[in-house]
C-alpha cells in the first residue's frame, strides 16, 4: 500500500510569494501567473513543508491511501 | 431615611461606584483625585472586585475598557493632565461603544497648573478633547450628595447608552466634606444582553435601535472590536455609506435621547427677570449670590446644568426668551459662555464673569458685577 498525497491550493488566498516552491524538496510546485501551482503531484512525499511554510493558509496537503478495494477508500482523519 | 454620613466628595464617588455595581478600577495617582483610587483600593477587594494601579493614565483607560468588555462595570478617576492622557483610549471607547465611567476632578491648568486648587478649565476638553466627531455625556455635581448620586447615574447612563460617561467635579467638591444621606433605594441599570443567538449577533447593528446590546466576553458571542471605522459586524470598513451610517448612529444615540439625558436645576427662576448660568462648585457660589441679590430686591434666579454635555440648549433657550439678561459665571477665562451665547444670545443679553486662579470666586465679586451690569442697562 503506497501513500498518495493530494495538494490543494486555494488560489484566492495564494499571494504567489514563492516560499512553498523554494522549500519543496521535490519540486512539486511551480509559480504560474503569480500563483503556486502543483506541477508534479506524483513526486510529493508528504513532508507538509509547503503547508507549514505558506503564510497565507493557501496550501492543504492530504494523504490518500491508494490501491485499496473500490468502495472503501479513506482519506486521512479529516 | 437613609444613613447620614460625613464624607469627602472623592470618597462619596468611590462608595457610590461600589453601590452602582462597579467591580473594576484602574487608575494612576493624581491630585486631587487620588482618594477615589485609595478608597477603592480598600473597598473593591472586599466586594470581589479588582483594583489596579497602572503604569500610567493611558494604560488605566485601556484596562477599564478591557474590563468592561467582560461585562463588568469599570471606573477610572483622574484630573486634568491625566484626563489629557486618557483621551486616546477614551476615543476608542466612544468608537467601540464600550460603557465606562471616567471621573475628572478638575484642577487649575494648563499643564501641571494648580494641582491642589480648583478650576473649571476642562469643560471643552471633556467635549472636544479627542479627534473626530463624537457625542459625550458629562455630569457635573455641586455637592457631595450629588457626587454620590451622579456617580450611580453615570454608570447607569454608560450602560444604557453603551458609551463612556464623564463625571466632572473639581478640587472643591471632591476634597471638601459635608453630610450626605445615603439613599436606601437607588436605581441601577445593568447592561442589556443580546436577545439573538451568537450567529445572528452583530455588535454594531443599529437595525433594532440606536443602542445595540454589547455581549460580554465568554458567553459564546465572539466578535471583533476595532478603533477603525467599521460596519455592523465590527470589522473594518471604509465604505463611505457604512462609515457615515455607523458614525451617525453613534452620534444619534446621544442626540436623539438628549431629552432623557439632559437635566438642569432651576433655582428661583419662576418669576426671574435675570439669571445666572453656572455649574459645579461655582453654581453653589451663584446660589448664594442669587439669594443675596433677591434680598436686595433683584428678581434673579440660577440655571444650573447637571448634565454639562449634551448641552442644555432647549432649557436655556426656553428661559432666554423670558429673561432680560443672563450672567455666565465660571472658574476659567471663558468656556461655557460660548455655548450660552450660541443658544441664548439670539434672545437675550449674555454677560460673562470669571477667572482662573485656583480660588472659588467669592459671592461679593459676582454680586458687584451683576449689579453693575443691571445698572448699566
Amino acid at each position: 500500500m503506497k501513500n498518495k498525497f493530494i495538494i490543494k491550493i486555494n488560489e484566492k488566498w495564494c499571494k504567489g510569494c514563492n516560499l512553498c516552491i523554494e522549500f519543496c524538496p521535490k519540486n512539486v510546485l511551480e509559480l504560474k501567473d503569480a500563483k503556486a501551482k502543483v506541477v508534479s503531484p506524483e513526486d510529493c512525499i508528504g513532508c507538509y513543508i509547503c503547508e507549514y511554510r505558506c503564510p497565507d493558509f493557501a496550501i492543504e496537503v492530504n494523504k490518500v491511501e491508494e490501491e485499496v478495494p473500490v468502495g472503501s477508500e479513506k482519506t486521512n482523519k479529516r | 431615611m437613609g444613613q447620614r454620613k460625613l464624607i469627602s466628595g472623592n470618597h462619596a464617588i468611590a462608595e457610590a461606584a461600589i453601590r452602582a455595581g462597579c467591580r473594576f478600577f484602574a487608575g494612576y495617582p493624581i491630585t486631587p483625585s487620588s482618594e477615589i483610587a485609595e478608597r477603592l483600593a480598600e473597598l473593591l477587594p472586599q466586594y470581589d472586585g479588582i483594583f489596579i494601579q497602572m503604569e500610567d493614565e493611558i494604560a488605566s483607560m485601556g484596562a477599564i475598557i478591557g474590563a468592561s468588555l467582560t461585562g463588568k462595570k469599570a471606573l477610572t478617576a483622574t484630573s486634568g493632565p491625566g484626563f489629557s492622557l486618557k483621551q486616546e483610549n477614551l476615543g476608542f471607547a466612544i468608537m467601540g461603544e464600550i460603557p465606562v465611567v471616567i471621573v475628572n476632578v478638575q484642577r487649575g491648568g494648563p499643564s501641571t497648573g494648580l494641582p491642589t486648587f480648583p478650576g473649571q478649565q476642562d469643560l471643552m476638553q471633556v467635549r472636544w478633547g479627542r479627534h473626530g466627531d463624537q457625542e459625550i455625556i458629562a455630569l457635573v455635581p455641586d455637592s457631595i450628595q450629588e457626587s454620590y448620586e451622579f456617580t450611580i447615574k453615570a454608570f447607569n447612563l454608560a450602560e444604557q447608552y453603551r458609551t463612556p460617561v464623564i463625571l466632572l467635579t473639581d478640587e472643591v467638591i471632591s476634597q471638601m466634606k459635608e453630610q450626605i444621606e445615603i439613599p436606601d433605594d437607588v436605581e441601577i441599570i445593568d447592561r442589556e444582553f443580546p436577545s439573538v443567538p451568537p450567529e445572528e449577533y452583530y455588535p454594531f447593528d443599529g437595525s433594532k435601535g440606536l443602542v445595540p446590546p454589547l455581549a460580554p466576553y465568554g458567553e459564546g458571542y465572539r466578535y471583533h472590536i476595532t478603533g477603525l471605522a467599521h460596519d455592523k459586524t465590527g470589522f473594518p470598513s471604509s465604505n463611505p455609506k457604512v462609515v457615515r451610517e455607523q458614525l451617525e448612529r453613534k452620534l444619534n444615540k446621544i442626540r436623539k435621547n438628549r431629552d432623557e439625558i439632559v437635566d438642569v436645576e432651576e433655582f428661583l427662576l419662576e418669576d426671574a427677570e435675570y439669571a445666572i448660568f453656572a455649574l459645579g462648585s461655582m453654581a453653589r457660589v451663584a446660589k448664594q449670590v442669587t439669594l443675596d441679590l433677591r434680598e436686595e430686591g433683584i428678581p434673579i434666579g440660577l440655571l444650573r446644568p447637571l448634565t454639562l454635555w449634551p448641552f442644555c440648549d432647549k432649557e436655556l433657550i426656553n428661559y432666554a426668551k423670558k429673561l432680560k439678561h443672563i450672567f455666565v459665571v465660571e472658574m476659567n477665562f471663558g468656556q461655557i459662555v460660548g455655548e450660552v451665547e450660541r443658544y441664548a444670545g439670539k434672545y437675550t443679553k449674555v454677560d460673562w464673569y470669571g477667572r482662573a486662579d485656583g480660588r472659588l470666586i467669592p459671592p461679593r465679586e459676582i454680586k458687584d458685577f451683576i449689579k453693575e451690569r443691571i445698572h448699566e442697562n
Partner: protein, 178 residues
Amino acid sequence: MRHEIQLVGQGGQGIRLAGAILARAFGIYDKKNIVETHLYGAAARGGLSESELVISDEEIYYVKVQNPDVLIVLSQRAYDDFSEPVKNSGVILADDFYVKNFKGDDKRLTLYPLTRIALDTTGSLIAVNVVSLGLISALYSVINVESMRKAIRDLIREKHLSKNLEAFEEGYKLGDNR
C-alpha cells in the same frame, strides 16, 4: 445662622484632625449642616496646615470661610497670613509658644499657653489640637462640648484616647476659668 471656624498651624499639630473632630461633632452629633475644606497635599507641604469649617442650620452655598468667627493660630505664619479677614466681633486664639509678634493692638486676639498645656498633660506637642478644641468648646457657645467628646472618641485611636481627652478637658478649663 452661619458660623465660620478656621484652624491654622503647621504640620504635626493635628490641624486636619481637629477640623475633622469639629466637623463630626457638628455634622453627625448636632445635626447641623457643615462643610469642611482644607489646604491639602502639596499646597500644605511648605509646613502650613489649615482646616476650615462653615456651620449653619441652613443650606451652605459658599463653602469657604470668608470672615471667620473663630480663628485658631498655632504658628506665627498662621497669624501673619490668616488673621486679617477675621470678623471685628470675632476672636483669634493664638498659641503663646509660637505666636510672638502682633499687629498693633488687635482687640480680637488672645494668647493661650496651648502648646505648654499639651506638653504638660500628654508629653506631646501634637495634642495642641485637642487642647485648642477644648478651649473653643468653652469659649464658643455654638459648640456642644458633649458632641466634641463623642467625636474625639470616634476619631482618636484607643491607645492615645485617654491622654487626648485629658488634654481636651485642660483646654476646656482654660476657657472656662476665664
